[in-house]
Symmetry: C2
Subunit: 396 residues, 2 copies
């Protein structure tokens, strides 16, 4: 049977590649410390579950295609506190940030089009871009420069007649890079000058550790036609399993196209939208506590990394990831070795090898993404295992 040429170009998640080897290691009795996945361990605010339990309609009906009014209002309220006034028509509820992203890409990308994304980038972007028939054109960065990409010459060098959009994850996954307001302005200016969309994947907005003001690409009213924001409750409220995301834009034509997609898939899950609307009543204390916790973890990881000779890593400013170049020949080989040969008192460690985060073949070979989503003691142990592993691997 013949399959779509587009799906043929897609791949499985590089983060899940080592899953069978992890299972085999566990079968041998190994305890694995997981720094490889972005599933936060922070408790979901109980108000989500309370709202779901208080849903008492006898029939679990379809929600409205653009989202339930309570959720749309909650999102408007959240952005109003960031000084971003939104109309309800600027907002479409989606099944996770993933669907919001899929929606906007389906609306703007055609076969042969290109979208600029700084690499390393979140690997699932590949799937959503490839099914449209377009491709990701990477903006190059390096671990030595802390994965910095907000540079006019660097970005403009990659723009060509096929370019339709610039997409940035801010704060960055996997790099933790946080754009300054001036850098955001620069990217928006470039997009306006070249008639491009700017897609801001801002699901990690709250996770900034230098006291930065919460930022969004929506803060430039003169770029209303260009800016699209993908947002989600997944990381913000540690509610990944709710699959509640949102697409935001003041570009009316874009939103009218996206509405066709929304109606096509009928709606997002009703109960999860009810729970998500309640999450937005969580106060600033929640975010402050979560931010403190992650900052402490980041600092722990960075201190441990600083003790490993040969590691290249600038301190990331946001999200809950660290991208680092390790003193190993090949991070995938090293990961496999950690699962199959290494152990220290029965323990080993997993991270996400870097190659899968790059669009340029061969890049990121000695890099890894570390997700600091473990409690303090586990995190310290995991980082010690990484150090021990590197030493033993290179001494083979």
């Amino acid at each position: 049977m013949k399959f779509s040429s587009k799906i043929e170009k897609c791949g499985l998640s590089p983060m899940r590649k080592f899953h069978p080897y992890a299972l085999a290691a566990e079968k041998k009795g190994r305890k694995i410390y997981h720094l490889n996945i972005g599933q936060p361990d922070i408790e979901t605010p109980p108000i989500f579950f309370e709202a779901v339990k208080n849903f008492h309609a006898p029939v679990l009906e379809y929600a409205p295609s653009p989202g339930i009014p309570e959720l749309i209002e909650a999102i408007r309220g959240y952005y109003a506190k960031l000084d971003i006034p939104l109309e309800s028509g600027d907002i479409l509820a989606a099944t996770g940030g993933s669907e919001a992203l899929e929606m906007v890409l389906e609306c703007i990308l055609d076969d042969g089009d290109e979208i600029l994304i700084p690499e390393p980038f979140y690997p699932n972007y590949n799937t959503f871009v490839r099914v449209t028939g377009a491709k990701i054109h990477p903006i190059h960065t390096s671990p030595e420069e802390g994965y910095h990409y907000a540079d006019r010459a660097k970005i403009e060098a990659e723009i060509n007649e096929h370019t339709r959009a610039i997409m940035v994850t801010n704060p960055g996954n996997p790099t933790g890079v946080v754009l300054t307001p001036e850098e955001m302005r620069l990217i928006v200016d470039i997009a306006k000058e070249h008639n491009l969309f700017v897609i801001g994947d801002e699901v990690y907005r709250e996770f900034v550790y230098g006291g930065e003001k919460l930022a969004t690409m929506l803060q430039f009213p003169d770029a209303a036609e260009n800016v699209v924001v993908v947002d989600s409750v997944s990381k913000r409220f540690s509610a990944c399993g709710a699959r509640v995301g949102v697409l935001i834009s003041r570009n009316k034509e874009l939103m009218a196209h996206a509405m066709k997609y929304c109606q096509g898939r009928l709606c997002s899950a009703t109960l999860d939208q009810v729970g998500a609307a309640a999450l937005y009543t969580v106060g600033p204390d929640y975010f402050a506590a979560v931010r403190d916790e992650y900052k402490r973890r980041r600092d722990t990881c960075m201190a441990k990394l600083a003790e490993i000779p040969g590691v290249v890593c600038k301190c990331p400013k946001g999200a809950f990831y660290i991208m680092a170049a390790l003193p190993v020949d090949d991070a995938e080989k090293f990961q496999m070795w950690l699962l199959e040969e290494f152990e220290d008192h029965g323990d080993t460690v997993m991270f996400a090898p870097g190659e899968g985060f790059y669009g340029t073949p061969g890049k990121g070979k000695n890099e890894v993404r570390i997700a600091y989503v473990l409690k303090q003691a586990d995190l310290e142990r995991a980082m010690d295992l990484l150090a021990l592993g590197i030493k033993a691997y290179n001494a083979r």
Copy 2:
């Protein structure tokens, strides 16, 4: 800004077209009887909500990309009772039948490809086919023949070098057509001979009113490579808002491609999968009662339609829709008139005009889809309003 040529070809849902006019009519004090939407009024089995309430993990985590094991097992058990043995790898949980459909179409359709679908068909098929760059090639039917399409000559006449699949909704939305086992065999044979996929959208499986054995395209083991089934809890358990569907196929290559899509969007909502797994413990009494209720409603509608001179309509055997040709010049004009000018004791009625269900331009102009999702007394009143409306409309 430039948009995708594919999204430009998509449209809004024809079912939602009259929504603003309905609001205006309600503002004038009209009571509208809704025969226009497929939202069942049957109570969702309370076990769904109980299972959701009994979910006690502190973190609402991502579910596995292919679905939670409890749901996959529940679906396997359901199909085992239909004498269809499935491996867990034959099943991928999806966010509604809609996402399951989107997944399979993304996997098999390329630009310029065609998929055969008997018309009239569920209009959202248009969106999911068009975003792949392919198009729907309709198989023609007529109200006079009860929308019969399972005919070798009729189907083979439409197959060309671009054809990749035959998709059938069985039982049919909007026609209520139910294929006989022989007709299913015929379609599968044609697909095998021409190397095509057969996509069975079987979300209305339980809704058959002639004592038919529950059927699925999966019942032909010799067509394992060709057959793909889209299924859902939405209609079966009146749980449309749960957005839990499923993609089923024994074609390993297809499922491997679909898994890429699944991983790309991470997962379906965790809590809804927990609730959906519980739904599958509902016993045959539930289905028998629901089936009796809908059969009574269908019979009520058919009896009322028989009394309206000039209506063309054969009795549908399944789903909860009746497609009928009315003695009016234009069903959309008639619907608009019903909302803007007609009333009987302050009441009026809505149905779904037929044109939006057709792929061939100009077809279905005097046809309508009636969704019998109202309680008996309301349904009788709604059908009387239709009869009164036709009379008054044609006497203007």
